[in-house]
């Protein structure tokens, strides 16, 4: 995305001029030739020097002297490395909140994620996917290992399948929200895709109206529907006011009892989708009277 952003502000330059840097750094030059960066280059390596520093002495000494002021040098802070990019891209609309975002705060530089010279990436172990596109989560997952792990779980957003990108929900270039989500709150973020859940319903479910993450985890879960915990236990953690919500539901209430024998009448409150067998409208209901109040129609 950043390289695309560069295209926005790149001046229209004639292509085909090989920069002096190409004599020694041919691979690096090849990697940017057909990009906006390359389009802004000239015989003196203007584009090369705008990121790597003044190469006058470096060229004159045939590489014996280092480039002066190379912001990408090893050991530089994230902010120093990003300075080179921001000198051109700071005016891009998606970088409006860069300084306030978590990445800038945590010493992440542009080059932590953007591979300007197209360095070959190490392979990622993951299931067969029908997409050949680069998966954005592979980049984010190099730091966010917990998230990378979650995307492989039995219930997950279709991230590895290439149908949801990290940047569909988060703005890696900076946002003023927690976890840099793109919308104002978690719920508004979730509802931007799950529009059927946003209501307003006649009968609501307050935890749903407060925060989807009370029950769901966004990246992946061992439990169906991206739930934090198995149902009925998740529901029972709040619904403790007696009657069937507070009864125990163990192996003897399942299809097969603890003795290994089939149970003639398993509990309909436990088997299959458990609480949702009846309370199907868990996100809110438009049914009248007690049917709506108890989220069962």
């Amino acid at each position: 995305a950043l390289s695309l952003a560069f295209l926005w502000s790149a001046p229209a330059m004639a292509q085909g001029t090989e920069p002096v840097c190409n004599k020694c750094h041919e691979e690096n030059n090849d990697s940017i030739k057909s990009t906006g960066h390359g389009a802004g280059n000239d015989a003196n390596g203007k584009a090369c020097q705008s990121c790597h520093g003044d190469a006058t002495e470096h060229v004159a000494s045939r590489g014996k002297k280092p480039v002066v002021g190379d912001k990408q040098a090893k050991g530089n802070t994230g902010a120093q490395k990003s300075e080179a990019c921001m000198s051109c891209h700071a005016g891009n609309r998606q970088l409006g909140f860069w300084e306030a975002g978590k990445h800038a705060q945590n010493d992440v530089s542009c080059s932590s994620c953007h591979n300007i010279h197209g360095k070959v990436k190490n392979p990622i172990a993951q299931p067969y996917s029908t997409t050949s596109r680069t998966i954005e989560a592979d980049t984010c997952g190099t730091c966010h290992k917990q998230v990378r792990n979650a995307t492989m779980k039995p219930s997950h957003h279709p991230i590895l399948e290439g149908k949801v990108k990290c940047s569909d929900c988060h703005n890696p270039h900076g946002a003023l929200t927690q976890a840099m989500v793109k919308h104002e709150s978690v719920n508004q973020q979730c509802f931007s895709c799950h529009a059927d859940k946003r209501g307003p319903f006649m009968f609501g479910h307050p935890p749903v109206e407060e925060n989807c993450l009370s029950c769901h985890t966004p990246h992946g879960s061992s439990h169906g529907k991206l739930l934090n915990e198995k149902v009925p236990n998740l529901c029972q953690d709040c619904h403790v006011q007696g009657r069937h919500p507070t009864a125990f539901y163990g192996q003897n209430q399942a299809w097969i009892g603890a003795n290994g024998q089939p149970v003639t009448t398993p509990s309909t409150r436990f088997i299959s989708r458990s609480c949702l067998n009846c309370h199907n409208s868990i996100h809110g209901s438009n049914a009248p009277t007690n049917r709506g109040r108890y989220l069962i129609r």
């Binding site: 005016g91 909140f97 190490n122 067969y128 029908t130 792990n149 279709p158 529009a195 309909t268």
Partner: protein, 687 residues
């Protein structure tokens, strides 16, 4: 002149899932059906313009087409079409005709003979078509418009109780999904290196063909019952953004304001199927008037947010951020009251829910020297529920954290962070009920983990080492302890332990590999109370009292473990042949243990199979370049998925009951196991 380069692929895919009884899990999200694979990746470049045109899986359920382009410094655009398929059940059974539509009908109840049932598949296809155009020819002014339409067609899982109690049985249903969501955003702004201002307007309209599903209720006199689905809604938002850089102390001030409105209106159901309250035993169900106070429900929720952040560098090496966020939700939806005595003797009212969140805090990082950086922060969140949630009114979260990040050892970087959260809450039910013989008395002892008092400790540790050229080792360790305070009934604590490790080696001129291993463990402890019916005893609703055989407390201990490992290799065997291999395996292992007092004769039975899954995935791929323009890619993937769970093992389609209190299931997750071989390949022509 425009230079065009790219590639076109043509090939096929074949998969064998013969062992799968219900292959929906295998075919969820991706289209593995036998057929043609066709795609392209074309780039165009000139001194003034560029475009990238990409397409894959053309004509398949997971088709993706994307065209991006622009003119340097003037405009850019994108057009896309992205399809997705969801599969929840293949080869299920239902006693209903019309499953997946808004009318589920069946006659001749009870219908316990499944050989007379109809087959059913549940799932939907989703397609997202859209694009954007951004004009920057008058830089630093810019204008952008985004639009997309999401169409979803098919069905999703649903269910309903036969009566008002699950003791009367329930039915699985397949709810229709025919949605269209149209989104538009228009944005204009002024962006320079020094400052950025923008204003945007967004509209999102959700339309559905079905706002309710009628279904034959075999328990209630085979009458027509109704389940309500989400109605159409319309969301609009105005947003203002502003950033000013290069302020004193090298500061940047950023702010954002939004105001949105969500509306959904519909006619309220005037009747429900049921048996009138107080009717003698054996009374047939009929349509009963619901008695709403108004015939229409007008749902309306407004949100207003304001965010401000000031980042500064007051002195060399010190970075600070001061921030505040506010969110005010105003629910102005119709206050409904259903007063019809025939349905119940109770008046049911809805509870439109408004609340206000105020959050502010400060972060500071100090670079002690080139290799060491320390950070600290404090955060405060006030959640004011405006007395509109029945259990908690106000919660105040106070969080502080410390962090140390070091790279003082060459080729080693590490970070350790500790954060502490303390939440205090105003519990509203401390005086609920008249006494321990009143059922409402038990509310005094309940808690909700999302809003109740909490102390949380969280540790995070990261280590990245590069012991040799091309070799990277990474470890992440997370620990989280939530202790819910003064909880008698409900979740008492939960713990999370996570460790992730990876080793990768990547010689750009030779072979590369990545190995990873992950482990997670989550534990939940809770306490609950069973009260007999009728309760009996002195203080049945007092969980502090000693347990009796009718009224007692029980404890639950829920544990989830997750293990995963994998290996991926890229090996350029020769200039012409490139091989890749990937192996991944995970295992989830859940359990639930119970503790009940010795006076209780009913035994729950500990659960050892609780969302236990195993998945093994192998993918081998080779690409041979016959020439600079022609190459052949061939691959084989193997996948195996196993599922074991107390809620599904031993699954039956029916649970017979007396007096038509039968349950009718559809087969969801009855047998999601699969073992599949997938063969794929294509020829690529590069130009």
């Amino acid at each position: 002149s425009l230079k065009i380069s790219g590639s076109v692929n043509l090939g096929g895919i074949a998969s064998d899932d013969d062992d799968a009884v219900d292959p929906s899990k295998l075919n969820d999200i991706r289209d593995l059906s036998d057929g043609v694979l066709f795609g392209w990746d074309i780039k165009g470049r000139s001194s003034a313009h560029w475009f990238d045109f990409f397409g894959e899986n053309i004509g398949r359920d997971d088709q993706y087409i994307n065209l991006r382009g622009g003119s340097y410094g003037r405009f850019k655009y994108r057009l896309f079409s992205d399809s997705l398929t969801r599969n929840f059940l293949e080869g299920g059974l239902t006693p209903y005709a019309g499953a997946g539509t808004s009318n589920h009908t069946a006659t001749g109840w009870p219908l316990l003979n499944t050989t007379t049932w109809n087959s059913v598949n549940v799932g939907y296809d989703r397609r997202d078509d859209g694009g954007y155009f951004e004009f920057g020819g008058l830089s630093p002014w810019y204008f952008r418009v985004d639009g997309n339409q999401v169409t979803t067609s098919g069905s999703k899982l649903g269910a309903s109780s036969h009566g008002m109690s699950p003791g009367n049985g329930y039915v699985d249903l397949a709810f229709p999904v025919e949605y269209t969501t149209k989104n538009w955003t228009v944005e204009g702004g002024y962006a320079t290196k020094r400052m950025h201002f923008s204003a945007s307007w967004m509209s999102s309209k959700f339309e559905t063909d079905n706002t309710k599903v009628n279904w034959t209720n075999g328990f209630w006199s085979s009458g027509t019952d109704t389940t309500y689905l989400g109605a159409g809604n319309e969301y609009t938002r105005v947003a203002l953004n502003g950033t000013i850089r290069q302020l004193p102390l090298n500061s940047t001030l950023a702010a954002r304001y939004t105001k949105d409105e969500l509306e959904s209106s519909f006619a309220v159901g005037q009747t429900v199927l049921g048996i009138a309250a107080g009717s003698p035993s054996g009374t047939a169900a009929s349509m009963l008037a619901t008695g709403p106070n108004t015939p229409n429900f007008d749902g309306k929720v407004d949100n207003e947010t304001f965010t401000l952040a000031l980042t500064s560098t007051p002195t060399r090496g010190l970075d600070t951020r001061i921030y505040m966020n506010t969110l005010e939700r105003e629910d102005d939806s119709t206050h409904m009251a259903f007063t019809s005595a025939p349905v119940t003797s109770t008046t049911y009212v809805n509870e439109p829910y408004s609340y206000e969140k105020t959050n502010y805090g400060i972060d500071a990082f100090f670079r002690v020297n080139k290799g060491n950086r320390v950070g600290a922060g404090w955060d405060y969140l006030d959640m004011d529920r405006k007395d509109e949630r029945y259990d908690y009114n106000r919660s105040k979260d106070r969080t502080w954290w410390l962090e140390w990040k070091t790279s003082m050892l060459e080729n080693v970087s590490a970070r350790v962070k500790y954060s502490n959260l303390d939440r205090s809450s105003d519990f509203k039910l401390g005086n609920a009920g008249t006494g321990p013989t009143d059922a409402n008395y038990m509310f005094r002892f309940q808690s909700a983990f999302d809003a109740g008092e909490l102390k949380q400790d969280k540790w995070k540790f990261n280590l990245d080492v590069t012991p040799a050229e091309f070799l990277d080792v990474g470890v992440e360790f997370n620990l989280k302890d939530n202790k819910y305070q003064d909880v008698v009934l409900g979740r008492q604590n939960d713990k999370r332990r996570e460790i992730y490790g990876s080793v990768s080696y990547g010689d750009p001129s030779a072979w590369r590999f990545t190995v990873f291993g992950d482990y997670e463990k989550v534990e939940y402890e809770s306490q609950h109370r069973v009260v007999g019916f009728p309760p009996g005893g002195n203080e049945p609703y007092n969980p502090i009292q000693p347990d009796t055989s009718r009224n007692y407390n029980w404890q639950g201990f829920n544990e989830d473990s997750y293990y995963a490992y994998g290996l991926a290799i890229d090996w350029p065997a020769s200039e012409k042949l490139k091989l890749t291999a990937s192996l991944m395996h995970y295992k989830t292992d859940g359990s639930m243990d119970f503790s009940t007092p010795s006076v209780v004769t009913a035994i729950p039975g500990n659960i050892s199979l609780y969302d236990d899954t195993k998945r093994t995935a192998i993918n081998l791929k080779g690409t041979y370049a016959f020439s600079k323009t022609i190459s052949l890619t061939a691959g084989y993937a193997y996948e195996k998925f196993e599922y074991a769970d107390a809620q599904f093992d031993g699954y039956r389609y029916t649970i017979p009951g007396s007096n038509r209190q039968d349950s009718y299931l559809m087969g969801y997750y009855k047998d999601p196991n699969y073992k599949a071989n997938i063969f794929y390949g294509w020829v690529t022509w590069k130009f």
